[in-house]
Symmetry: C2
């Protein structure tokens, strides 16, 4: 393959992005119970103040803070109890100087009160002593409160109009909690892309079978399926084919009808790559957009697009680790950029060894993370690109751009978790 024919990773990502944009992923409205892990299609903006009343953060008494100035264990302030606030109910009275009302945690702080003294710092005395939350009596307050203590102000948490969750966010448990708080029983999310996975190879057997000499089981289908699931894609179909152009053509044509993204992984050999490119060119228009990526591993990658069926087509390398790396670095990256998702936070680590950059190619080096307590070391997982252990032993990878000069032992590195 001529280096002039290959795209940089960034060029490849741009081509995938433009294909994905043309495909277009409509939004759908799902209930909050079904929204976990889905990608948010529009900003969640608060339509309300949260809280929309002043709320107590403790079980205690709403007071005028100034009334407690100088109060201590030995010299309590004495206030008149005028009632109590019930949970889930508006406060029925105002608190005037010299007065107080019981307020439960989460309860509304009455008008007039500007702080809540914790029940542990008070004592009831007089005739209502011993009652739980008496409506009358006298309260000794043993601490001096600044204004605002134990009170959440109206809109303090979230004000009306605040953007709370940005479009593109892959929804987490915490996002669901926030949407529940803001009154979103349903939420608009992107439709999940449907992926068809096609593995090819005369030497590739279904996982149930025992390989003879020169044969291997179908690893790529499962690795790619898992990555697609992880990313929230829907698996439209999985198929394993022998190396016959006719079979590949039929399978790709069928897949183009049902899927948004058709992934063909075959041998990395030139002949197989050419067959995939030929099939894509024969079925798709405009057809093949990229004949290879300046990426190690992952060079023998084909990217194509069909406008009529709105399908992205990719020929992935035959080596499982390479196929999975291309899925992650090209397809996932493009999909996240198109939907506005933030990339995962990389782990900061220290390179264990020198890592040479591949001349003229971006490089992804699989690493294990070893946390020795003070620092996390990134230890390259050695193994030829076909190796299974490269897959299982790595926690993540270090990525070097096209023209990086490689990495020196001891240098800080970003590890992208796998």
């Amino acid at each position: 393959m001529n280096l002039l024919e290959v795209d940089t990773l960034q060029q490849a990502v741009e081509k995938i992005k433009s294909s994905l944009s043309e495909i277009g992923f409509e939004t759908e409205e799902v209930s909050l119970k079904e929204a976990y892990g889905r990608v948010l299609a529009g900003d969640i903006v608060s339509r309300e103040n949260i809280p929309d009343f002043r709320r107590s953060t403790v079980d205690g008494y709403g007071v005028v803070a100034a009334d407690t100035q100088g109060a201590s264990e030995s010299v309590p302030s004495i206030l008149e109890i005028t009632g109590q606030v019930l949970m889930g109910r508006p406060a029925e009275k105002e608190v005037h100087p010299g007065e107080c009302m019981y307020v439960p945690t989460g309860g509304m702080v009455p008008e007039g009160a500007d702080a809540v003294v914790m029940i542990e710092h008070t004592e009831i005395f007089g005739e209502t002593e011993g009652e739980e939350h008496p409506e009358t009596g006298e309260l000794m307050v043993y601490s001096s409160l600044p204004a605002g203590l134990n009170v959440v102000q109206t809109g303090e948490d979230i004000a009306r109009g605040d953007m709370v969750i940005p479009a593109g966010k892959k929804l987490t448990a915490r996002d669901l909690a926030a949407m529940a708080a803001l009154g979103y029983p349903t939420v608009s999310v992107y439709r999940r892309p449907v992926v068809a996975i096609i593995s090819t190879g005369d030497e590739v057997l279904p996982v149930e079978e025992t390989p003879g000499m020169g044969q291997v089981r179908d690893i790529n289908s499962y690795g790619i399926m898992g990555l697609a699931m992880e990313e929230g894609f829907e698996i439209g179909s999985m198929e394993l084919l022998k190396d016959e152009e006719k079979l590949l053509e039929e399978a790709v044509a069928k897949a183009m009808e049902l899927a948004d993204i058709v992934l063909v992984s075959g041998g990395s050999s030139k002949g197989k790559k050419d067959a995939t490119a030929k099939v894509i060119d024969s079925l798709a228009d405009p057809g093949v957009l990229t004949h290879g990526i300046a990426l190690k591993p992952g060079k023998p990658t084909i990217i194509g697009y069909d406008r009529a069926s709105a399908t992205l087509l990719m020929g992935l390398p035959g080596h499982p680790a390479a196929a999975m790396m291309v899925f992650r670095l090209a397809l996932v990256r493009a999909m996240r950029e198109v939907t506005g998702q933030r990339e995962d936070i990389p782990v900061k680590a220290v390179a264990e060894t020198n890592l040479a950059a591949a001349p003229g190619r971006a490089t992804a080096v699989p690493v294990r993370l070893v946390d020795d307590g003070t620092e996390v070391r990134a230890v390259p997982v050695l193994g030829k690109s076909g190796a299974i252990t490269t897959l299982t032993a790595a926690d993540g990878f270090i990525f070097t751009e096209l023209n990086d000069e490689g990495i020196k032992a001891g240098q800080p590195v970003d590890v992208h978790l796998l």
Copy 2:
């Protein structure tokens, strides 16, 4: 609450662990297509050598390395082509000194050959020049090969008997790929724990409704549901109740029949906590095991167990952030320890500010991560414990043990991602 009545977090985790162990999570056999995200119940040990034949990593010619010693662009070695190896087929011939055979990527390296020269470093000449993989003719080899070059040895990747994936691993895409390689069409995983989620509170409304004064929507159910989904638990039921002991008792009794784990989240107020404890004690035997945890946030947590129905029961704090933190720090930690799962790798960061430890309590401080290129700073997310923004703005949390002395600004910290 008396500090003497509360457990340390570690004690609480141990009690949950022993309850979970009593419940027992049977294993089930699922197909590889359904195994993503499930927790592996037994070690995956290789029953085979991978590869079980010597495999070429390139398209090229199998040669006797010694034959190429000293070969270069200007002084090629010349070898006799004696045939070719077909993909997925055993090599039919042996390579003797002076001979070579074409081998495709992934193909079997013939007996006798101990290296494969890349096709790019060769040229065919003589009468078969121009044919793709001729069975006869002469090959010029333009590079000098060390023995073993471009050859994966038998068992080099994985040897028979190697432990490849440990029991307890939550299966990733890469694990599925490895199991496919090793011939595991099905895999034994732990049954998913069934969780019932009960929210209580007179002031708590379904998410569809608009809160009046002193009311809030049901945040906890969705936050806990999301965390449970994230952890691979099955959601058995979700229910929102008014604060009535009778209703709670009925709901808990019903939940105990269908679920392994019943989670009740109500107000953090003493009265509500007591009601939950009372219901657990009335329905379950041995009943309440823990009346509180020395954890901030998360103190008002109740742990109980019922032997007859094999159900773990927990009363979670009413504050969403606290309830979710307890779920994460106590229940998830216990479940992971029981099933042998490894904890997630924390992100190394630098504390942005001093963080005081809570006296006598383990503390979880929610933080945002800010990557300024050279280091990642952990910036505490301020907010009272009921705040929604605490949920949405945090990337993770810093955990300090019971007797830690707090954290100083600039100190390295482990951030556990949320």
